[in-house]
Symmetry: C2
Subunit: 427 residues, 2 copies
């Protein structure tokens, strides 16, 4: 707190810390009122938001950005309305703050309660999509935290407009405007400063590409929650129902390949490889997937299937690649044990699935795979806060401390022990 | 895992990771059996342990180490027996592994369970006392983790002997010996290597002095749980029962000044300062405490009390000092709000206490103080895993992520989502 530095980033963090002190003891009612004001303001000031967004979109087009990326950057009145509607959904979620996680009366009469409290100041470092700006800010406010938003420079005008709207609405509802702040500066330096603001910022959550996340994890002295990288596996057991296995494999890979819970590797038990590989190649081919296969998969592709997937030889690099595209690495393994070993070695710890009818195989796989989520006879695509019924998601943690898997509102809190006595001293 | 480095420390971490994979799916029965074997072996091989300890003790005496430190280093047959008895107590504690933290059946029929699992590989960096070696290893094993122990070089012979006993006992019970390993090397370099073993070590817990903890927090790329620094406050409210306040203050400061939950600062509401300060000075003087006071406390000391505590002028440094001795910083504040501000600015976030008969004051203080534990009319000395009824403690976290306050067995676990369907795919 007594840092000599007067950088704009640290100044922002100091103001966030002061706002957090005001937010922490507020009632749910006060926080919800501010969030409803945010939803109203987004709708009322849509023109201002869309105008600012046009600046970013034109800049992106001028820079030759791919049209799919431009589309993700674009805000229309309909999209702003949808964002506002999402805000109202968050307001309706249960309040994590104040929940008594554990409580007891100790033998000496002391009353012990472990109570959920906000983390304090949450920093979110993210890329591209401006809807994340509102989404992240609203989840932080709902859980009683002040938020520092460090979005992509390609969305700077949109983010600035959105944060202005948010700050005005929050202040209008009687909360400190500094509960929501955009981190100043478009350069990487502002990220670096944020990463060293230990004592001012309680946690950093990077959301975006693997290189951004790696940088933050390695360089930050502020505690980090690692999110998102998903090198997910589907293991087809010797006792799998093969039609089910094909359906899950194609869904896990191709239903939406660009997201972290899409499958990137399929492992097949050798006892069913002879029957399964042709079925899988046909279905994957139909879905437009290229297979990066081991020798068995390469051989299967040459076995005369008329319209199966293209198979290219897999290298060791394929086992660790998160393609996020219509590509999948594929191998045949001699046993469930070998599948578990492969996964333990190469997985990013996000989600793995087993397809099997055998109870013992399911039990062994779920016990021994060390990932945030393990699916039995279900697609990896289900690892998601919305699908899990959390109603909201700030990211999917692939680390083991604090939060693992989809993070909802409770994961944006810490706890505090409140101990009440009547003059108790240690004997 | 594919690191090119062949350092002995990383090699140790790799073996720990392999051991962790074996430990994770084991039943409680198998883990408890190994821990009972450890308790038996400690008793059976006491002579070997005490002999090794004599080497450390003689080295410490030759180096002119203070006798109080030598005492903490010393292992006698009685102390070894007490350590073995503590191991049996841990065996009896509830198993955190496998607990279903959350569970539901989703609308689509998927069965969702969030299950406690071991963290994997836990690294403990600690100082001096060899009993921590057994204590930390046993808590990690009970919670299904492999442990890397990096103790003080001053206890190297003792730790080596203890770890040999532990490894033999664990292996004799059918668990991998590498579930318990001493990190090789006595230099600081081995700590540095441990801090960079991201991907091999899941968490580092430094236990010891402030400088050790600061180094680990700032330099480690492995996630860290910060423990122990306790700049704890006692606030005497305007509505305090002053006799209760004196009793709590003296207990918090002087019952055992060398520990992290001892009080280091007392703040007194000005409305009761005239009456309270002379009472406090008399009691603190009797307990042998030196007061580092603001002007009000200095003036009170000159007010004619015949045998009160010595009062020296407080400087700003006193507000942030963890004395761990018979010293206390002392100030008079104009309001509860000012007390909260002082605490928010200077506290290490460990434990703060309010003494008050006023319900509103208690409520405001507990809501607004941002520390791991807040005591109402009770001594700060109660922040302790044993006192809280956890049966064991690996340390007291002063950070907000993952664990806050005394850490028992559940805090040595992560969770995993297990999701079971019958061929579910995302529509």
């Amino acid at each position: 707190m007594s840092s000599a530095s007067n950088s704009p980033v640290l100044e922002t963090a100091r103001r966030a810390r002061e706002a957090a002190a005001v937010l922490a003891p507020l009632s749910r009612e006060a926080r919800d009122r501010a969030l409803l004001a945010v939803a109203d303001a987004l709708v009322a000031r849509t023109a201002e938001i869309v105008d600012a967004n046009i600046v970013d979109v034109e800049k992106a087009r001028a820079a030759g950005t791919a049209e799919s990326v431009v589309d993700r950057l674009t805000l229309t009145p309909e999209r702003v309305a949808a964002i506002a509607s999402d805000v109202r959904d968050v307001v309706a979620l249960p309040d994590p703050v104040g929940e008594v996680v554990r409580g007891s009366t100790l033998p000496n009469g002391l009353e012990l309660r472990q109570v959920r409290v906000p983390l304090g100041v949450v920093g979110i470092i993210y890329e591209a999509r401006p809807n994340v700006t509102v989404d992240a800010a609203v989840l932080c406010l709902k859980s009683g935290n002040a938020v520092l938003l460090r979005g992509s420079s390609s969305a700077y005008a949109s983010n600035t407009a959105l944060v202005n709207v948010l700050r005005d609405a929050v202040a209008g509802a009687g909360l400190p405007a500094d509960a929501v702040q955009l981190v100043p500066g478009e350069s990487r330096d502002s990220v670096k400063e944020l990463m060293t603001a230990r004592g001012l910022v309680d946690v950093l959550i990077p959301r975006g590409g693997a290189s951004l996340i790696r940088t933050v994890v390695q360089e930050s002295t502020v505690p980090v929650i690692e999110t998102g990288t998903g090198n997910c596996h589907v293991y087809v057991d010797e006792h799998a129902d093969l039609d089910t296995a094909v359906r899950i494999l194609v869904n896990a890979k191709a239903q939406r390949p660009s997201v972290c819970n899409a499958a990137e590797t399929v492992l097949v038990h050798e006892a069913v490889a002879g029957e399964f590989l042709p079925m899988a190649l046909a279905a994957l081919g139909e879905a437009g997937v290229t297979v990066h296969g081991d020798e068995r998969w390469q051989a299967a592709a040459q076995g005369g299937e008329e319209q199966g997937a293209t198979v290219v030889p897999a290298t060791e690099e394929d086992w660790e690649t998160e393609y996020l595209s219509y590509d999948i690495a594929a191998a045949v393994v001699p046993s469930l044990d070998a599948a578990v070993q492969h996964i333990r070695r190469w997985s990013s710890g996000h989600t793995e699935a087993i397809v099997t009818r055998d109870q013992g195989a399911a039990r062994a796989f779920t016990a021994r795979v060390d990932s945030a989520a393990v699916m039995v006879n279900a697609s990896t695509r289900f690892t998601d806060g919305g699908q899990f019924g959390f109603g909201a998601e700030i990211g999917i943690s692939t680390q083991k401390l604090h939060a693992r898997g989809p993070m909802g509102l409770p994961e944006l809190t810490s706890t505090k022990y409140v101990v009440t006595g009547d003059g108790h001293v240690r004997p």
